[in-house]
Symmetry: C2
Subunit: 149 residues, 2 copies
DNA sequence: CTTATCAATGATAATCATTTTCATTGAATC
DNA sequence: GATTCAATGAAAATGATTATCATTGATAAG
């Protein structure tokens, strides 16, 4: 439990940032909700239950800070706000997102399988790929079954 | 020249939308700037030169309309506003975007080469893929050369 | 354990992209 | 040419995010 938490808090301290209770609470909550894609507002609502005095601005600032440290990744699903998720370990690229056009559910897909494409891009264009962000739009398994077939 | 323009205007009329001079001007301009990724504000500024009376709300409304008809695709490069580009023909998926982390340039990459990955996703998760949105982050050819090589 | 420092916080106001409202205009139809 | 109602432009409203600023408190020195 303290595993990932400790690593992140250490990272903050190593970068000279202060370990405030608000930051600790926010990081703990992000780990608790590591399967979700929380917006600042989502996170604020959750975190407020444990610290009713916390400010929305602090949530925004902390999310920005963690994203700047690459602890978090900011993602945009086109619903009018930024969402955040824990980043993959340094040597992995970010997982893909499968977005159901029927029910809106977002699921992750872990294998990236893009090495070949990235090498092709580099060969043909000279563009050196560092990372990618991939979204697939379609119909999830549940919705396909619900639609009979 | 009237080629793509006429097809889009016909599409509007077929869907019972009125062919106003504002819509015609906006579509013409989008075709003129088909290599770019214009924001509503960008487009407004350009279009205002030919019709100083045009309103920003009309630009927003027309972009929404064209996106709802799949004439345009809305893309988000994380710079605080939505951007638009002409959609690929119906049977093609959208092209990929290569985004340079050094100079910010966005270039397209046309072959999608994701058929295999999409089949793998469908096989393993039951998710039926209709389309994708793919961004690669890295360093463009120019910037790599500028950085010595 | 104090004390001093200055980063961090919370409340609030400000920004900025986008949307809504509403009176007026004009494209399409007959 | 007259009718109708979708489309427009100006302006206000909205909503996410950011900036401001007085106050607080984490951290490090004494
Ligand atoms: Mn995810
Ligand atoms: Mn493009
Ligand atoms: Zn679904
Ligand atoms: Zn570059």
């Amino acid at each position: 439990m303290g595993e990932g938490l400790q690593r992140i808090l250490d990272h903050l301290r190593d970068c000279q940032y202060r370990l405030t209770p608000q930051r600790r609470l926010i990081v703990e909550t992000l780990l608790d909700y590591s399967q979700d894609h929380l917006s600042a507002e989502d996170l604020y609502r959750i975190v407020k239950r444990r610290d009713p005095a916390i400010g929305l601005a602090t949530v925004y600032r902390t999310l920005d800070l963690l994203a700047s440290l690459a602890v978090l990744t900011k993602v945009n699903f086109g619903d009018g706000c930024s969402r955040f998720e824990l980043s993959a370990a340094k040597r992995y690229h970010h997982h893909h997102h499968l977005i159901c056009e029927a029910c809106g559910v977002v699921q992750g897909f872990d294998e990236d399988l893009l090495g070949g494409l990235e090498r092709t891009i580099e060969r043909r264009t000279g563009f050196r790929v560092h990372d990618h962000e991939v979204k697939f739009y379609g119909i999830c398994h549940q919705c396909r079954q619900a639609a009979e077939g």
